[in-house]
């Protein structure tokens, strides 16, 4: 197939993915709405469960005549799971949302691959391609993290962010496939940029969790009467823990990006660090997240205060990706707008 055909099919796939993601987004939003109702019922159930909490279950192990298993009721554990109140079963909205997300992701990845085939190189050499691949990686990382912890409540955020980035990138910054300028012809393009995007994906999810944590904190302090679906989310402390761990992964990746970028800069521009605008912002982001990690270890800063830093950090990442690319002058200018 010819380059132009491949690029065209890639574009078709992008728009298809956006359509599917939109369905997923709506379903996630409906799920959040449904959670509000569930939370109400859960509260009622919890009251009933309290009465039964004293019951103990005992059973004897099969075949073990000398073995007697005695299991007293797990008061503490039982109460904990009731207070989190997470619905044991995913709602149908949620199932639809996840299914659509998976489908959208497959189409999205196909579009990334087609674009790469069309260009005959990695598909992240200009602004449109960054957006295309970057959003795919955000969804990929979200789905991967999803395998370890249940972050479905974050689906609406991930899909929303993804749709906005993908739509802006495709509608405003679409460019035809073009060959790499000599400065980008390096193995570091594959490593440096890919790790940067991967780091961004982790920061995005961490920021979403931090935002959820801030709202949850407000609710736990009974300053928010509405938003009942928050009852179905983990507690603020758990959200903070998750956000922190995910941001840590992002921070490690970002550190690597910084070092790999410096090595590449030495090869391409003859100096490893020159305070180019993009370098400056990558450094600022690194310092912000370093600050976030330290804030969590500082008395009086753990909790809501440090979480703001995670959100500010991600805002800086987005700023670096958008405003710095488009409006600032610098050596990273061939993002081929």
């Amino acid at each position: 197939m010819v380059t132009a055909d491949l690029a065209y099919y890639s574009l078709v796939a992008v728009y298809s993915a956006m359509a599917i993601y939109t369905i997923s987004f709506v379903a996630f939003a409906l799920d959040l709405a449904k959670r509000s109702g569930d939370a109400q019922q859960a509260a009622a159930r919890a009251a009933k469960a309290e009465a039964l909490a004293t019951a103990s279950v005992s059973r004897s192990a099969a075949g073990g005549s000398t073995v007697v298993l005695d299991r007293p009721s797990r008061g503490a554990g039982g109460a904990a799971s009731a207070s989190t109140g997470a619905p044991a079963k995913a709602s149908s909205f949620e199932r639809v949302a996840i299914a659509m997300m998976l489908l959208g992701f497959v189409v999205h990845v196909a579009s990334v691959v087609l674009r790469g085939l069309a260009a005959g190189r990695v598909p992240w050499a200009n602004m449109f391609e960054f957006s295309l691949t970057g959003t795919a990686i955000i969804v990929g990382v979200y789905l991967a993290v999803q395998l370890v912890v249940n972050l479905r409540f974050l689906g609406a955020y991930v899909m929303g962010l993804n749709l906005v980035l993908l739509a802006i990138g495709t509608v405003n910054y679409y460019v035809a496939v073009s060959p790499l300028p000599p400065a980008l012809q390096s193995a570091w393009l594959v490593i440096h940029v890919f790790v940067a995007i991967l780091g961004t994906a982790f920061f995005a999810i961490a920021a979403g969790l931090s935002a959820a944590q801030l709202v949850q904190t407000k609710r736990e302090q009974s300053k928010l009467a509405g938003l009942r679906f928050l009852d179905t989310l983990p507690g603020a402390e758990r959200l903070e823990d998750l956000a922190y761990r995910i941001a840590l992964v992002g921070f490690v990746l970002w550190t690597f990006t910084l070092i790999a970028g410096a090595i590449w800069a030495e090869r391409a521009w003859g100096r490893y660090w020159g305070w180019d605008t993009k370098e400056v912002w990558t450094f600022i982001i690194w310092v912000l997240y370093a600050g976030y990690i330290h804030a969590r270890a500082t008395r009086g800063w753990r909790g809501a205060r440090s979480s703001w830093l995670s959100i500010i950090g991600f805002a800086a990442v987005m700023f670096n990706f958008s405003v710095v690319n488009v409006f600032f002058k610098g050596l990273h200018a061939y993002s081929g707008l």
Partner: protein, 612 residues
């Protein structure tokens, strides 16, 4: 910064962990009920570290502080500087202080941008310049922030390193009296009634097995009567210290090492040779401790410069896809070597690197003056102005008689009429090369001894002869290769002999950069270790009861440790398996306290456990 390692203590269990945090361990009496509230923190962390001792109520407000002497104040400021809050504040300040440098052009990276900024904002420029915004990253205020930060950092690394060395030699602390208060706690009672003889499970045997098992998994162990106390993950703190020390290393090598290097630029036209001596550089930036003898003698001759363009069939047609400088390089004492310099692929020679950073066209021009003598014959580099390489250059002919001649010219590799009668270049390749010159006569001002750029011509006081100037008698001189044109007023002729390519080389020598890379690599390795190696204590306790042997397992996180509960479970499973307990029972004990990370064992948990 070094402070960050052990941040945690989110839940009740881990808050009490600080009690066991007296790292020396040997003197630790273990956790008792009283300890859980009497939190003896890590004395070597800043006082506002989350794991350190919370100031008692007596330190609170309303207490009259004793008068501080000079030494007291010094100590006070030192404590302030090395506190977590100050470090955090300085970090944030560093992030904010770096912003201005991205908003306005910097002299180091974009000197032309600074000049342009001065023209665009004549009122604002002097103010900003006074503030040092155009040299943000070497300005006093930016330097102050990072220097304070690093002093604060060093003030933290040193005591913690000392402390860590002590901890490395210490034995694990005594087993706490009540393990049930700790993370991942689980217990099981093994009935010994049935199995007498060699197979009988005794407390001593269980303890021995636990010790051997923990040792195998890399724990440092110590037996206290009927229990094993084990600790692992010292590497976490080591990594943390390495990370922060390496950052100091990066700063020092960048700051000090950079002073021993130099960098310079030189434009070389095809056929020319560059020798690495000070005089042959177009521009040169020596480091603080640079010495001319550092210039290693080598020469580079540019044999050919070639550019590849994207084919017309693909997207981005006409775009340059490859630049190659074929050179003959020779270091002193070495043989001449034919090699290539490309973007992303510099040439390393004589301890320096030669980078290909720019290219363009140079025109071969011969000027005969009004008396018919050759007044000028040279190859003049023209600087590219756009992506299609419309290039701007200046030709100065000081030897022309009767008047000196000056020319400002544009070179169009592929000339085309842009519709208004003016020329423009539509392609970077030389498919229709045209040289267009505005010619002036008069005193070029070269004899005044004032250094002038070869790329600019001050036309004030010169007489325009040909060009766009209103006073000029003729339109600009337009030449294709091989053509000759006459200069108005009988001042001579000008011949466009041909076009050559030039390459712009950057020559860098920085002996410190390999050290910077080394420290950067070290800090990354340290970071990985500090963040992902869990540091934890684990206890296995075996007590003989009337029913049999009661086994208890518990752990204690020292720093972020999300998998502690699972780890204790795995230890229990392996231990029970080793003692001959049926696998399904062992698994059940291991799996019992599901989701330990959210569970907070309270007093009710005491009774939890199983009998076999």
């Amino acid at each position: 910064m070094a402070r960050s390692s052990d941040r945690d203590g989110g839940d009740a269990t881990r808050a009490s962990s600080a009690a066991a945090g007296a790292d020396t361990g040997v003197t630790d009496t273990g956790l008792t009920d009283a300890d859980a509230t009497d939190v003896g923190g890590d004395p070597l962390r800043p006082s506002d570290h989350i794991d350190s001792v919370r100031p008692g109520p007596s330190d609170g407000a309303g207490i009259t502080q004793p008068k501080l002497g000079p030494l007291g104040y010094l100590r006070f400021f030192w404590r302030q500087l090395t506190s977590m809050k100050t470090a955090l504040f300085l970090l944030m300040l560093l992030a904010v202080a770096a912003i201005p440098g991205s908003l306005v052009p910097q002299r180091t990276s974009d000197p032309n941008g600074v000049v342009q900024y001065r023209t665009d904002h004549p009122d604002l420029f002097p103010v900003l310049d006074k503030l040092g915004v155009f040299d943000t990253y070497s300005s006093p205020w930016f330097s102050a922030v990072y220097l304070l930060l690093f002093i604060s950092l060093i003030g933290c690394i040193i005591p913690r390193t000392r402390h860590h060395f002590e901890a490395l030699r210490a034995r694990p602390p005594k087993t706490p009296a009540r393990l049930s208060r700790l993370a991942g706690y689980r217990s099981i009672t093994l009935e010994t009634a049935g199995g007498a003889g060699d197979d009988a499970i005794t407390a001593a045997r269980a303890v021995d097995a636990a010790r051997a098992q923990l040792k195998r998994s890399g724990y440092r162990t110590q037996v206290f009567g009927d229990s094993v106390s084990a600790e692992r993950g010292y590497l976490r703190e080591t990594g943390n210290l390495v990370f922060h020390s390496a950052l100091v290393g990066v700063l020092l090598t960048v700051g000090v090492g950079g002073g021993f290097g130099y960098s310079g630029q030189r434009v070389v036209v095809e056929g020319q040779t560059f020798s690495n001596v000070l005089g042959s550089y177009d521009s040169f930036n020596p480091g603080r401790w640079f010495d001319e003898t550092q210039l290693s003698p080598f020469s580079i001759a540019l044999d050919e410069f070639s550019t590849e363009y994207a084919p017309d069939t693909a997207g981005g047609a006409g775009m340059a896809t490859d630049f190659t400088a074929d050179v003959t390089a020779q270091a002193r004492g070495g043989d001449a070597e034919r090699t290539q310099i490309k973007v992303n692929s510099p040439l390393s020679i004589g301890g320096s690197n030669v980078y290909l950073l720019g290219n363009g066209y140079a025109v071969d021009v011969t000027v005969r003056d009004g008396e018919g003598n050759v007044a000028f014959r040279d190859t003049v580099p023209f600087l590219p102005q756009d992506t299609n390489l419309t290039s701007l250059g200046v030709i100065k002919v000081p030897d022309a008689l009767p008047d000196q001649l000056g020319m400002i010219g544009f070179f169009y590799p592929t000339a085309a009429d842009n519709g208004t009668g003016a020329l423009t270049s539509t392609d970077p390749d030389t498919t229709n090369p045209v040289l267009s010159l505005n010619v002036y006569s008069g005193d070029l001002g070269l004899d005044a001894g004032v250094p002038t750029s070869v790329y600019t011509l001050d036309t004030d006081g010169l007489t325009p002869l040909a060009g766009t100037d209103d006073d000029a008698q003729e339109k600009a001189v337009q030449l294709t290769p091989g053509e000759t044109a006459t200069i108005p007023d009988g001042l001579g002729t000008i011949t466009f002999d041909g076009v050559k390519r030039f390459a712009s080389f950057d020559i860098h020598h920085d002996p410190s950069q390999v050290w910077v890379l080394l420290f950067a690599g070290l800090s990354f390795a340290g970071l990985l270790t500090a963040l992902f190696v869990p540091r934890r204590r684990v206890w296995v306790k075996a007590t003989e009861t009337g029913d049999g042997v009661r086994l208890e397992y518990a752990g204690l996180a020292r720093g972020e440790d999300p998998t502690l509960g699972r780890a204790v479970g795995d230890i229990a499973k392996a231990h029970l398996g080793g003692l001959g307990v049926p696998a399904d029972v062992a698994r059940e004990v291991a799996d019992d306290p599901a989701r330990h990370d959210v569970e907070k064992p309270g007093p009710a948990a005491e009774g939890r456990g199983r009998k076999i």
